[in-house]
């Protein structure tokens, strides 16, 4: 249980009627939310007013004169008008929500603080670029975009920070990313939102938002000297990848410096974007996308490398620029 030291890190917070807004995205989501609520309340109130109004006015005992049936043509116009009005309103809301969704969920690229997240029953294991490792607690600075690169080593989990209005599932075999920019120092809840077994409700922790200076001091103190990229480089050698890909091994293998983020030509024809998922697949399912000009001879590392180490190797490969490797592998 020593590994679960950070277990049940909890945040003291009084009852609130509105969740804290601690990231730049929170206000954007809330604005849309409250507009939606306003639209819904208006519609519900209209409906209730009509139902109650008709119920009183046309109750069985009332002597009020009854209007004749609404003419069918007028009725149809009311229906079609209602349908058209709602469709237009809904499509406007859809457009707003969809645009914001793409903005919030699509990786904006650029220079971000990338934190690797590996979920497992029942904890969050995180690693910062400078090597600092955390369990169930995430320290982040304000004013800087933070990217979470997530996967799971067992079942599906979901990384949820209500104060950031941020949630994304961590799925085995997939890499999902999420980003945020914290705006308000403090401590906030971190929840697992996707049911994941016995201790699902205890798979929670906290996010500590700090000023950039405090974060720098914290990172300085907790950095282990070896960041994920360096660890990845070490593992790249330790698992024998460098033998073929970097040295002059017996087998021809594609060179990998600068491959990340580019399109790779495939032996089967076509190209594929070398994103994190591609790099991961190349390790575990090496014959899925064989690079043009090479034979499908690489063995699979399925089941031999833990998820956090795979993430480190991927981080290492992504840190390389073309030409970083001076030794040519055999062609």
């Amino acid at each position: 249980m020593a590994e679960q030291a950070g277990y049940l890190d909890t945040v003291e917070q009084g009852l609130a009627l509105h969740p804290e807004q601690a990231a730049t995205s929170a206000a954007q989501v809330d604005l849309l939310f409250w507009v939606l609520v306003a639209v819904c309340v208006a519609l519900v109130l209209t409906l209730f007013a009509l139902v109650i109004g008709f119920s009183v006015r046309y109750r069985a005992g009332s002597r009020r004169p009854r209007p004749g049936a609404i003419a069918e043509s007028l009725g149809r116009r009311i229906e079609l008008g209602g349908a058209a009005g709602l469709t237009v309103a809904f499509l406007a809301l859809f457009a707003w929500a969809g645009t914001l969704y793409l903005y919030l969920y699509r990786d904006p690229g650029g220079d971000m603080l990338t934190v690797n997240v590996v979920a497992k029953q029942w904890m969050w294991k995180l690693q910062h670029p400078n090597g600092a490792r955390e369990i169930n607690t995430l320290h982040v600075p304000t004013g800087q975009r933070v990217r979470l690169r997530m996967t799971s080593q067992d079942v599906i989990h979901s990384f949820y920070i209500p104060a950031f209005r941020l949630k994304r599932d961590a799925v085995p075999r997939l890499y999902t990313t999420a980003w945020f920019e914290a705006s308000k120092p403090g401590e906030y809840h971190l929840f697992c939102a996707e049911y994941c077994g016995t201790d699902h409700s205890r798979m929670r922790g906290k996010v500590v938002v700090m000023t950039p200076e405090d974060y720098a001091a914290w990172a300085q103190k907790n950095g282990e000297g070896e960041g994920p990229a360096q660890a990845g480089e070490r593992l790249f050698t330790a698992y024998g990848c460098s033998g073929c890909h970097r040295g002059r091994g017996t087998v021809p293998a594609p060179r990998l410096d600068g491959v990340a983020g580019r399109r790779v030509a495939l032996a089967a024809g076509g190209t594929v974007l070398a994103d994190a998922a591609y790099l991961r697949d190349s390790l575990l399912l090496p014959n899925k996308h064989v690079v043009a000009g090479y034979e499908p001879v690489m063995p699979s590392y399925q089941g031999q490398i833990p998820e956090d180490e795979i993430l480190q190797i991927v981080t290492y490969l992504q840190s390389l620029e073309p030409g970083d490797w001076t030794v040519e592998p055999r062609r």
């Binding site: 909890t10 945040v11 917070q13 009084g14 009852l15 609130a16 969740p19 989501v29 849309l32 939310f33 939606l36 819904c40 519609l43 409906l47 008709f54 119920s55 046309y58 069985a60 009854r66 609404i70 149809r76 009311i78 229906e79 209602g82 349908a83 809904f90 809301l93 859809f94 707003w96 929500a97 969809g98 969704y101 903005y103 029953q121 079942v155 599906i156 979901s158 949820y160 209500p162 104060a163 209005r165 941020l166 949630k167 994304r168 799925v171 085995p172 075999r173 997939l174 939102a193 996707e194 049911y195 077994g197 016995t198 201790d199 699902h200 409700s201 929670r204 575990l284 899925k288 089941g303």
Partner: protein, 527 residues
Amino acid sequence: MSEPGTHYLNEGWTLRSWLLTTDHKRIAWMYFATITVFFFIGGLAALLIRLELLTPAGEMVESDTYNKLFSAHGIVMVWFFLVPSIPATMGNFLLPLMLGARDLAFPKLNLLSWYIFTLGGLFTMTAVIAGGVDTGWTFYTPYSTLFSNSAVVLAASGVFVVGFSSILTGLNFIVTTHKMRAPGLTWMRLPLFCWANYATSLIMILATPVLSMALLLIVLERVLGIGIFDPELGGDPLLFQHLFWFYSHPAVYIMILPGMGVVSEIITCFARRPIFGYTGMVISIMAIALFGFIVWGHHMFVAGQSLYAGILFSFFTFLVAVPSAIKTLNWTATLYGGRIRFTAPMIYGLSFLGLFTIGGLTGVILASLAVDIHLHDTYFVTAHFHYIMVGGMVTAYLGGLHFWWPKITGRMYSGPWSIVAALALFIGFNLTFFPQFLLGFLGMPRRYHAYPEEFQLLHVMSSLGAGVLAVGYLLPMVYFGWSLWRGKPAGDNPWDATGLEWQTSSPPPKHNFVDTPTVTTRPYDYV
């Protein structure tokens, strides 16, 4: 053929005359009995859940027990109560009567459906006794296939089996509606209850098999060791979610459409007005049934599904809200210029109208992608679907029961007490579930056995409301029981309603009608 005074209930008193009956009305009773048992089993689980959530630390039961409780609650309520509730009971009883037919097209198949249903129920109950199942009603992989140590195989098999019961019921209803209508009963003269059950049946036969396949693959994975959802082999965990929601989203409409049918009958009858926009109602029922199939991905906005698939599914979800809104508009407009009587069925009908609208509109909030990132898998979702399933469907179920009780049993129940029960349901329901919207917006995740302290107040409110809600459920049991024993004879048409079912005696004779009726007017010919 039949003596005066004999009807389907007193045709025979032996157990055999019930268990081997092919009379749709008796089979409906058998379903009533079975699903009522399941309703109270599911309700007991809900009660324990609400008691447990009174305190934040999760002291009453172990977390495994809690997980099994909410799984049992979901599985039992969805597949053993909500899906069969209106179709298998009132649909079974009333569809042939409303169509002017002597029985469903395949009476033996109908009986078989009940046996299959009961068999599936036995499987699932065995799963509960054999230690329970802890996957939630959604059976998400790879948790259900590789990690859960509970009775997943038994529970999934139970749901698999029960699927065939709803498929056969659906098949029976469709053929009956096509082939067994009385002379003159054209499609555009069908009561909306029949249309709703027809659309529901279509969904049952087209969606259920896909769920069956997904569950079968889970069972095969656990029993035979095939690994279709195994991420280690390159399997995709999201594939199960796609197949599951391909059924389970349309299943929401399996659960709500029959309720809409019931409410259409009730509101027209007690407002003494023809339904406003009959054609529009029919079109929207069928549109919901069709569009319901292409929105399933809105359960997966944060699940790792592609963002563009999310956008497409969100688009269709907004569109499917329009026909539902039209129906609400039409029910309201039906009240205009009526002579409204506030009987118990009408109060249930109006409660449905309010609660369903809130449930539907919060669905629109959840369909809004960016907002769903925050609200997904929180109590907001729990509250939303309980407004539809309980506020909508269970309310409509009880409303229908109160409406047709005199026809089914030939006896009346207590007027004042039934009004008290209907009001208790409306108030208790809102007390229970409205706080959950707030909980969700504040960030309280679903399926949590222990939770941060600041959420306690709202959880306590919700649990107290559940107590009032329970009164709303238990009261009808009492006065319905009383009515069976001592109720006043109801007469053939106590509500002075239109519709063929009210033209035969109460309770109806074995073959429903002494002479096959002929239809010459549109439905809801009130005033």
